[in-house]
């Protein structure tokens, strides 16, 4: 049994414990301990019934924990009064997603709790993915559980909050032992199987369409390769086909949302065999849709770049003028458009400014190289 199959059982096992009367926080700790034991013992001693094994191990841990901290009699009376453990159904797992993404949590806490309680990752793996000490991550998770301790597990949840958390998992994190992008895709697939919501499909399509380009996005040395310069033969066409199919099915339901619109833009890029074949006019139309849906200045910034491709650099610069210059990457976008408009000197200066304002090293290095390339061209 591989680790991701083991992880898939985790939310259901927590659901069973909660059904037996365990509170979420204690149940989740007990399941994490059972998971650690499974990781240690299964490779040499695999169980016949993995889920049954996990439930038994977690339930024992739960009893140990509650025995230690409360009156055994009171607890046993309470548990005795619980209905017989039925199989946890998919509704339980979805409720766990809602709880872990509860609006009272900060995004980082929601991400950590989601990865542990429904993702079935260990605290150490999560800590490694976000480059913090394990003790810090353990505290972040306990704190998150305290914050949601009064939330009823059957409280109505909003799938949009879950999607925002999964998007963050996909988009931000370092690659350690666990591939967070793949983990986000796995969890989004699971949510899609549990609910019927176009935006879940939209997000899954968006993830697949971006993930399909991953191999082409960086050089072997780790430098960023912009979309226009990527070797398109390295895109994963199977993943693109799946993303496009999921997106088309969602769009056909005519309930457009932010993730579907973003996925549509990614699909148009994926559809172009060469950068010259990109349908920029349609991409601008989708940015217009997105702008109506979100009121997000980053969208207007990206739209300005697309306008530059569809209608020429001057039109792009005019569109950029409507965007607040404090928006991240504003200078990088302007540099790109200035170069296309032929003003290499200004473009070089803007690229250098943009490099200083970059929020990550790969982007800084990329922008620095652009500035150096233009300065070299100017010197002739």
């Amino acid at each position: 049994m591989n680790e991701s199959l083991l992880r898939e059982l985790i939310p259901a096992v927590t659901g069973v414990l909660v059904h037996r009367g365990a509170d979420f926080a204690t149940a989740e700790d007990a399941v994490q301990e059972a998971l650690l034991r499974a990781l240690a013992t299964w490779p040499t001693d695999p169980p016949n019934d993995p889920k049954g094994w996990l439930i038994t191990a977690a339930w024992r841990k739960f009893l140990d924990a509650t025995r230690a901290e409360s009156s055994r009699l009171a607890r046993e009376n309470r548990v005795a009064a619980e209905p017989a453990p039925g199989p946890a159904d998919s509704a339980d797992t979805l409720q766990l997603y809602f709880l872990c993404a509860h609006p009272s949590l900060t995004p980082a806490s929601a991400v950590a709790l989601t990865l542990r309680a429904v993702g079935g990752l260990t605290t150490r793996q999560i800590a490694e993915a976000y480059l913090v000490p394990e003790a810090t991550m353990a505290q972040r998770i306990s704190r998150a559980k305290r914050i949601v301790s009064d939330v009823r597990l059957d409280e109505a949840g909003d799938v949009a909050t879950v999607l925002r958390v999964l998007y963050l998992v996909f988009n931000e994190g370092y690659s350690g032992e666990v591939d967070l992008a793949e983990e986000a895709i796995r969890l989004t697939r699971q949510v899609r199987a549990l609910t019927d919501h176009e935006e879940v499909s939209g997000l899954l399509a968006l993830m697949l369409l971006h993930h399909a380009r991953r191999a082409a996005r960086t050089t072997a040395e780790g430098a960023l390769v912009p979309l226009a310069e990527q070797d398109r033969s390295r895109w994963d066409t199977g993943m693109i086909r799946e993303g496009v199919a999921i997106l088309q099915e969602a769009l056909a339901r005519d309930r457009l949302g932010e993730f579907q619109a973003q996925a549509a833009i990614a699909a148009l890029h994926a559809d172009a065999q060469t950068v010259g074949e990109t349908d920029w006019v349609q991409i601008v139309e989708w940015y217009d849709e997105l702008d109506r849906l979100t009121d997000n200045p980053v969208i207007r910034l990206n739209r300005a770049v697309a306008v530059g491709e569809a209608d020429g650099a001057q039109a792009g610069l005019a569109a950029l003028e409507l965007v607040d210059c404090e928006v991240p990457r504003h200078r990088a976008a302007e540099a790109y458009l200035r170069e296309r408009a032929g003003d290499l000197t200004l473009a070089a200066r803007l690229y250098a400014d943009a490099a200083r304002a970059a929020s990550n090293l790969a982007e800084r290095d990329h922008l620095t190289r652009q500035a150096a390339r233009l300065n070299d061209a100017i010197r002739g």
């Binding site: 950590a112 810090t136 505290q139």
Partner: protein
């Protein structure tokens, strides 16, 4: 979340706002209170899930550079002449720049002689994060 380095300087930075003698001249109880306060501060950050690491640095040491092919490294120091001398750092992982500034502000309130906050200037520096996946 983003990581920030909060730097403490022995010297350098803006002019101090509180005038206090070096620690070896404080009352022993004030030294003890200061050390305990610093320990508790790190503990609170661990509990809030924002602590990454911290380290205090000795004022000893030197500048070092490559001395050329086949030659030993060149050293310069100790730092008697230097304008800026780092005393230690606190690395935090927080939700926003505002939160980093808030933590540094609290950290700067470490008690000095008579329990009066030192109001030491601390330098807050953002680190580069991971590049986002959805970037194009």
């Amino acid at each position: 979340m983003a990581k920030y380095l909060v730097l403490k300087h022995y010297q350098g930075g803006p002019a101090p706002v509180v005038d206090y003698p070096p620690m070896e001249q404080w009352a022993p109880a004030d030294v003890e209170a200061h050390v305990q306060w610093m320990r508790d501060f790190a503990e609170r950050l661990k509990e809030s899930g924002e602590f990454v690491s911290h380290m205090a640095l000795s004022p000893e040491g030197a500048f070092v550079r490559h001395g050329g092919e086949g030659r030993p490294p060149v050293t310069d120091g100790p730092f008697a002449e230097t304008k800026d001398l780092i005393a230690g750092w606190l690395m935090i992982d927080v939700e926003s720049y505002e939160r980093a500034v808030e933590i540094a502000g609290d950290y700067s309130a470490a008690p000095g002689p008579g329990g009066v906050p030192l109001c030491e200037w601390l330098e807050v520096r953002p680190s580069y994060g991971a590049p986002p996946t959805v970037a194009d």
